[in-house]
Symmetry: C2
Subunit: 205 residues, 2 copies
C-alpha cells in the first residue's frame, strides 16, 4: 500500500502485527483512532502499556492478577482440595462464568506442542507437582482443549502426577446441549455412546 | 465477563471500543500483547500516540500527511488542473494504487449523512470552492461511494460549483471487470445498458 504519511504507515504496521488483523483492517482501525479525541487515544495506549508493565501472575495458580495471590486462590470460600488444570486465563473466565465450579485453578500457560516448539519446560508443570506434594489436594480435573495438543499435555501430566494420592479426571466430552445428532462428527458421537452415562446421573446438572 | 485483573479489564474495554472488535476478540488481542516483549508493546502504543499527536493534514487537499503540504500536492509532475474529490485517505490510496491518475485530490473527510449527523459544514466544502475560484482547475472528478450518502454529497457539491467554468464528471459505474452478468444486481445492469459506451472507447483502459 502507498501511505501518504510515515506516521500512518508505522501505526498500521503495528496494528497489522496483531493476530487476525490484516493491512486493510489495521488501516480501518488506525483511521478510526485518528478521528477520536487525543485524550481517548492516549487512554487507549496507556491502558495497554500499563497492562504490559504492571501485570502480575498469581504465585499459586499463575492466573493473571493484580495482587501477588489472585482473588480465587485467596478466597476462603473456594475448595483448595480441588484443582482444575487449564491452558490460559480465558479458560478460567469461561469456567467461572458457568458458576458450577468451586475449586481452584492451575494455569499452565499453554499446551505441549512440538510443532510450535512448546515443551513441558515452557509450562507451569513443576509448580503443579509442588502443589500436589503439599497433601492438601484430593482431586485434579483436566479442563484442556479436545485437541492433539490438549491430549498430549494430559498424557504427560498424568504420568508426572499419577504417583500422588489424588484422583485424576478430565471434563466430560460428548454432544453439546442443544446439539443435533445428525451434525455431530463421528468420533464425538461414537465416543459418547461408548461413554454413556446412567439416565439419573445425566439429570443432575 | 469476569476478569481476574482490573488492568486486563481496562485494556480489553479499550480494544472493544474499536469498530468491529467485540469483547472476545479484544481479549484475544490483549492476551497476545501480554505475550509479546515489553519493548514491542511500548513501540505499539507509542506508534499510536505519536500518530494521533503529530499527524498533519495537507493544507491544500486535506489528505493525511507528514508535511504541511502533502507529496502529491507538492509534486511538480502532478496535473493541478484536475481534482479528484474523495471521501477519505483510503480512497486516495486506492486510486493511487491503480497508477491511472495523474491529477491531484481533494479529501472531503466524510460524506453528507443526515442520519449520522454529518452536514456540509463538517466536510471540506468551502476549501474546495476556494480552490476552484483560483481559475487553475479545469476538471473535477467525483470519486465517491455509489451509496445514498455519496449521491447526496455529489448533488450538493454540484450545486455549489456548477457556476465555475470547470467540467464536472463522476467515475464510471457499471459491471466490474471479471464480473459475471447473472450475479450483477438489476440497478447496476440496467444502468450499464442505458449508459453503454461505444466499443472503441471501452478498449482504451
Amino acid at each position: 500500500m502507498n501511505f501518504s504519511s510515515k506516521l500512518l504507515e508505522d501505526a498500521v504496521a503495528e496494528f497489522a502485527k496483531l493476530p487476525g488483523v490484516g493491512q486493510k483492517t489495521a488501516l480501518r482501525l488506525v483511521l478510526h483512532l485518528l478521528n477520536r479525541d487525543k485524550e481517548e487515544v492516549n487512554q487507549f495506549s496507556k491502558a495497554i502499556t500499563k497492562l504490559r508493565n504492571e501485570i502480575q501472575y498469581c504465585k499459586v495458580c499463575h492466573n493473571i492478577a493484580d495482587q501477588p495471590v489472585c482473588e480465587i486462590c485467596s478466597s476462603p470460600r473456594r475448595d483448595k482440595s480441588l484443582i482444575c488444570v487449564v491452558e490460559d486465563t480465558r479458560d478460567v473466565m469461561a469456567i467461572e462464568n458457568t458458576n458450577q465450579y468451586n475449586g481452584v485453578y492451575h494455569v499452565l500457560g499453554g499446551l505441549i506442542s512440538p510443532m510450535d516448539g512448546v515443551g513441558p519446560s515452557d509450562l507451569e508443570v513443576d509448580t503443579l507437582v509442588e502443589r500436589l506434594a503439599g497433601n492438601e489436594v484430593k482431586e485434579i480435573i483436566f479442563a484442556l482443549s479436545a485437541t492433539m495438543e490438549g491430549d498430549t499435555t494430559i498424557f504427560y501430566l498424568n504420568k508426572k502426577i499419577k504417583h500422588f494420592a489424588v484422583s485424576i479426571s478430565t471434563i466430560a466430552r460428548g454432544i453439546a446441549f442443544g446439539g443435533e445428532l445428525e451434525y455431530v462428527d463421528e468420533i464425538t458421537l461414537g465416543r459418547s455412546i461408548a461413554t454413556r452415562v446412567p439416565y439419573e446421573n445425566s439429570l443432575t446438572r
